[in-house]
Symmetry: C3
Subunit: 159 residues, 3 copies
């Protein structure tokens, strides 16, 4: 019986890790549809209330309010509809109630019916498990052709 | 013993949800390689026999036969080889034997060795678990720079 | 009790398949951040020591050393920083301690601040479970607008 209990507990822990990884994929991915449909509040809610989005265009945004403000600006809103924020692909690393991910983001926009990539960047994501589920504590985004982007990509864990 | 049975049943249900999510990713992803290698029949088989593909170019296609017909047209075949239908990234939501997904699709084509994006779209997918496994009941595809695309993206569930 | 043991063993096998699929996604995805940050050794380590990378530009590279050499060449290094090797999306098929995947790869580069796709290709991946974890035994990469690419895409398993 003890043996069965142990196997069950091991399975539960492993399954939780798998569920966490899929939940984190969904969390990152869900930023795009919210931002691209002009719903800044929903987009900001993938962060914790005081989460940080450090992007080398708009700078360091602390807290959901600052992220909503950036997404409400004319520069962002003028792309809607027609833009696509694609946070893929990424490599996730779990550590209990914390997690990190490293990967790419693409911002597409459409002008006069023509699609083009506007921005490619490297991203480092830090997550915490909260009462609301997994949330972003800090996202760092650097344009791909910069030294900081290279440092972010270098921090991807060996598989 | 009862306790163990309960934990096992809970694990089985959670694991099935994880397997379902991965199966749905594979199902959506497999559309591309079939369409891009000119195998319309295989591409159509991700739908149920009477599944619907509602795309704002070719219109509403009802049933696998209509989807095969669209993929057999000169407009599609002239892109093969050289096109890439990428159904990513998406956010999946399970509900027992039904599921939905919301996300992006990209169609790339290659002309004279040059790649370009031909179409970016928002997609809403509705799935059913069938005897053949998960199948698409309805896929709605709208060009990214349209109001309906925005509505599709807005329907992404909060994570 | 026997019944419980059986259910547990079945769960363990299914969970292992799910973990394998996610590990293979991470493995393929991790090629990009290594290659794009100029760390050829790390990029080569997703292969087995004598793994093969057969790409229709640089040709057949046998063993990690040959892959490091290709990534050290001026042609590759001149793209760093600013390039993105995106190995997505793919469909994975498991077979015990072996696995295959079929999908797409994109190579982006940035010149004078402008991003463009440099190469779209079809990929077939063959994996083995090793003491180091899953590793690539052979990766075959063909430009999307070629007949071999079409054959690769055709080999995607029906879902």
């Amino acid at each position: 019986m003890d043996e069965l209990q142990k196997r069950l507990s091991a399975l539960e822990a492993r399954l939780r890790a798998v569920e966490d990884e899929l939940a984190l994929y969904r969390l990152m991915t869900s930023y795009g549809p919210a931002a691209d449909s002009g719903d800044g509040a929903k987009a900001s809610e993938i962060w914790t209330e005081d989460g940080v989005y450090d992007a080398d265009g708009p700078g360091v945004m602390s807290g959901r309010g600052a992220i909503v403000a950036m997404l409400s600006e004319e520069g962002h809103q003028s792309m809607v509809p027609g833009c696509a924020h694609l946070n893929h692909p990424v490599v996730i690393e779990l550590d209990g109630d914390r997690a990190t991910a490293v990967g790419y983001s693409q911002v597409w926009r459409t002008d006069d019916g023509k699609h083009r990539v506007f921005r490619l960047a490297a991203n480092r994501w830090e997550f915490a498990r909260t009462d609301e589920g997994w949330r972003v504590v800090r996202r760092t985004n650097r344009r791909l052709d910069t030294a900081p982007a290279r440092e972010i990509l270098r921090s991807t864990p060996r598989q």
